[in-house]
Amino acid sequence: MGDKKPVLGIVSFTCDQGCQFTILFIEKLMDILKKFDVQYFHLLKEKNRKAKFDLCFVEGAITTKKEAEKLKEIRKKSKVLVALGACACHGGVPAMRNFIENKELEKYVYNQKLPKDALSAAGIGEYVKVDYYMYGCPIIKEEFMNFLNQFLKGKIMKEFEGPVCAECPRQGKQDCFLRQKKICLGPLTHGGCSAVCTKANFECMGCRGPRPKADYKAEIELFKSWGLSEKEVMQRLNMFKNIENT
């Protein structure tokens, strides 16, 4: 990369910007941002330019054609593109609306019409090539920092491979939530979060999105065999990602 600082951008589409805030909450953020030429970060900066990025983080789901076009532009200008958080990775909470009829939605949100160019809410990978998926609602600070540090050394970090269970202290033990007949999505979900929720006595809700190889059918059958309704089970499974068709 020579002596020039790599050009960095953080761009946001439809979401609550919780991932950008997670970044702003990083204690050593200023130290690492000094090593970049930050050209786009509208939450932090006054003058923002969609320059040619060496590294661009994209946050939020794509919900309209206009957003999809903008995203494609950003992809063209970015050497490395990272999907930042659940919404950008696989649609996240905004994608819950995909399960509701548009007419229903318009009725419940004050009889307003959907935009003419509205699309089903989706992750950015539906439209462009993504070089790294940074999962989570929100993302994990440490993963973001590690990614930047490795990037400065010219490397792209490898994604964590196992499920949430791989880091869960309850795995294989009596206090495993599945043994307690609780809807825990740990086995289905991308790990790398240090199992933060299950360690604090809360079942995994799947915010890091589904692992492609996971056995959904078996898991759904298991939940239903406990007497849980299909509706209850599917709502949990679809809170952060549409898995109905997976």
């Binding site: 909450f25 200023m30 307003q112 809700m205």
Partner: protein, 425 residues
Amino acid sequence: MPKKINLNQITKIEGHAKLHIKIDKGEIKKVNLKIYEGSRYFEGILKDKKFNDVNHIASRICGICSPVHGLTSVKATEKALGVQVSEQTELLREILNIGGTIQSHVLHLYFLTLPDYTGFPNAVQMAQKHPEKVKSALKIKQIGNDLVRVIGGRDIHPFTLTPGGFVRIPKPEQFKALLKSAKACLPETEKAAHLFCGLDYPDFKRETKHYALKAKKGCFFCPEDKITCTGGKQCIAVTDYEDYFKEFFKQGSTAEFAKANESSYMVGAWSRILNNYDQLSKEGKKLTSCILPRKFSPFMNNPAQAVEMWEGLKRVVDVLESTDFKPEKPVEIKTKAGTGIGANEAPRGIVFHKYKYDNKGYTKLVNITTPTTQNLQNLEDDIKHFLPTLLDKPKEEIQLEIEKLIRAYDPCISCAAHFLEIVWE
């Protein structure tokens, strides 16, 4: 004199907004605050969801004030299902909300606002010239994060909250560590109160109405189910909020605006200080002495936030010192049909969640009113009155002054965004 001012992307605020201003022969023809945030249809997606999933979805309304959306959500659900939580739960929730308020305020004050007053385009550059200020901010940010993480499980989108209580209570040693860092950080918040008191705010005033939830006696951060009007008199019951505060859409904007009795009004830190002044601690009152004389200035929302950081942290220290938190399970919940309204003081002002449940515990109707929705009309009215005083200045300066005003409200645009078709000029 400029004819047109277009702030096409207002930066250093949460979300996406723009401002169009038209001036003709020194007269202001148009002030139009446009919100072009993508809508997420929250009231739609929250419908027909199970009572113990609702707060986790609601938390995702906002990345910067997720704790309070979660808190208000469980409150509404508990009201609807007739659940009474323990005193310990109430205390933990109060601390969680204070933690979230500190997180939000410190970020807004030091990273989004302070660069405007110290002459830097952003906090990264400001950090190089004023390392001590940024260091102080980072310490306060740390305690805000710690409070939310220890009680809520993580910094953003706390997950330990559930209708009926908490899924886990932190261990005694965690509370002990929290108390130690909270105490150590108190002087930093006092510094912040003085710093934001002494900034050179624009000289602008306009009388408006202020609303805040009524604080319990001697407890600034404990809201009752009553709303106070300007001056602190109780005037409305929370259950009547929909009749009093009217939401409406504007052409070309995806956000809702709101009015009370046909007029714009303000909510937030400044309104809380003005309306609940009597419930501040003695020291807290002292810290407000430099801002109270400017009671018609919206810019005082900045120092008011700083005072709240101190008052909140002091309260946390007092609670942690005097309470022995014990392991406790959430109250067991039996589903039944019913409607409940939860109201809380979010960092930016009153937030309402109203849920109607069926007897199986699924939401049938959801209404959410966020603070920014309530503040937008007042902000637009302020801009209309502020602009004429600026017209002899160069365009760049007018822009900066207007942006200072917008940022003083600390607007959270994605919270306010619903959907209405966007008209692109």
